[in-house]
């Protein structure tokens, strides 16, 4: 337990102090959202209607950004070997690394949503719905991404292959996240059903992600 907490603190410190993890992701998120009106035109009614979809897409892409360094940095400086040799189960270590990664990259995206929602003219209730679905959904994105990050550790163009591997697997999260967020705009459909399924997807990713990522890391050598 102590080792896991130490790892969590270390990973978060590294993320905050090196290469600007959290601000970079949020900046990318902001840029994507700012680009959309240039492509679609400044029609606020249209932006308001597709706002949740834009925010979800932006968050999905932003969550991919730092993923390729998740294990690759540890692999390069040798700390991954120490992690592999330690007596703590690798699945737990991987899960803790995922949590640290989410706290430093996923959570800031959720916090940024209210500001970005202003640009898209979202009302408070849809804004809250988007923030809530992202709060539940981004951990799933991170934990699915863990698998891709573990598979792409040693690859030279890891970032590119990572996106190809991970994005198809995130389709269900995107579908139910946007569907739940959209209920706040479209109206009578209930928020509960898609939101509950989104929660379920996140829980499934908590199970599959660490186990598959740990298996991939074990087969590295």
């Amino acid at each position: 337990m102590k080792a896991l907490i130490a790892l969590l603190v270390r990973d978060m410190r590294l993320a905050v102090r090196l290469g600007g993890g959290a601000p970079m992701g949020v900046l990318f998120f902001l840029t994507v959202v700012v680009l959309v009106p240039f492509a679609l035109g400044p029609d606020l009614a249209l932006l308001r209607r597709i706002g949740p979809a834009i925010l979800w897409l932006g968050a999905l892409l932003a969550s991919l950004l730092a993923l390729d360094r998740l294990f690759a940095a540890d692999y390069e400086d040798g700390s991954l070997d120490l992690i592999l040799m330690s007596s703590v189960p690798l699945e737990l270590t991987v899960a803790v690394k995922g949590i640290a990664h989410w706290l430093t990259t996923g959570l800031p995206l959720v916090v940024a949503v209210p500001v970005l929602a202003l640009f898209l003219g979202l009302d408070p209730w849809p804004m809250a719905a988007v923030a809530l679905t992202l709060l539940v959904g981004t951990p799933a994105l991170t934990f699915i991404g863990l698998v891709g990050a573990a598979l792409a550790v040693t690859l030279r163009r890891g970032g590119l292959i990572l996106a190809i591997l991970v994005l198809p697997l995130t389709i269900p999260v995107l579908i139910f996240g946007v569907a739940a967020a959209n209920t706040a705009i479209v109206g009578p459909v209930s928020f509960g059903a898609p939101f509950t399924i989104l929660c379920g997807l996140t829980l499934i990713s908590f199970v599959i992600g660490p186990f598959a990522a740990a298996a991939a890391l074990r087969h590295l050598e």
Binding site: V147, I161, P168, P172, I175, A179, I208, A212, A216, H219
Partner: protein, 243 residues
């Protein structure tokens, strides 16, 4: 244990050399019968006309598209659990075939959709999930190509294949849910649940023919892969001896 006997690639190669010509001959015969039945004997649909014939290619392709992933999943288990030396060869040989069958399914479906629905592509649940399956096949192929060492690539791909095998039903379910949300009455529903035997029999023959075709191509591709690896090893040894 026959499966364990085949773990020896040389013995497997001997078996393939013996079986492959016969298998290829049977495949050609069944395919010929199936195509004859499908294209010349089976009647035109009263509504769709001759375009219904596309189905005889389309439906078996769709079956094979899913079957190939199943083969890859079993092979992935073989790689990860038993370290069977031929399992990763089987997985690698099946991936391009699966991608090809999926592409064939999408292509024929799209050609059928143009005259029938008036569009090459519709964001329907089934079409979309097959498209995602195609993307997953391409991801697997990309991963095979990026890792140089075959045995390391095999383990990485095996994990991706198994994660895909767990996720594909989830994706299928979500896409169906999404599609029904977007378009309530789907055009894809068949008019009647039963297919008349004049169409069903050729379809089943074509299904068997495609299965045999897959088996033939798969065995040939496995043989080629084994030989390719031997060439690679020989080259590496030569390079080491020269150095």
């Amino acid at each position: 244990m026959p499966v364990m006997d085949l773990a020896n690639p040389s013995r497997f190669l001997i078996l393939v050399e013996r079986v492959l010509p016969w298998l290829a001959a049977v495949t050609v015969c069944v395919l010929a019968v199936g195509l004859y039945q499908a294209l010349l004997v089976a009647p035109d649909d009263y509504q769709q006309g001759a375009t219904v014939k596309i189905m005889f290619i389309h439906v078996p392709s769709a079956w094979l598209a899913m079957f190939c992933w199943a083969v890859m999943s079993v092979a992935a288990l073989g790689t990860l659990v038993w370290r069977h030396p031929l399992a990763d060869v089987a997985a690698k040989a099946a991936a391009p075939l699966g991608a090809a069958f999926t592409f064939l399914c999408l292509l024929t479906g799209s050609l059928w959709g143009r005259p029938m629905w008036g569009a090459y592509w519709v964001w329907d649940g089934r079409l979309t999930s097959v498209l995602v399956l195609f993307l997953m096949y391409l991801a697997v192929l990309a991963l095979w190509r990026t890792v140089e060492d075959p045995s390391r690539a095999a383990r990485a791909v095996a994990i991706l294949t198994l994660v895909g095998a767990v996720n594909l039903p989830i994706i299928k379910f979500s896409v169906d849910w999404w599609a029904t949300l977007h378009q309530p009455a789907s055009v894809l529903r068949m008019g009647a649940p039963t297919i008349h035997s004049s169409i069903l029999v050729p379809l089943l023959i074509m299904g068997v023919a495609f299965m045999l075709l897959f088996l033939t191509l798969h065995l040939a591709a496995m043989r080629n892969e084994i030989l390719r690896r031997r060439v690679r090893t020989l080259r590496l040894m030569q390079a080491q001896a020269g150095a």
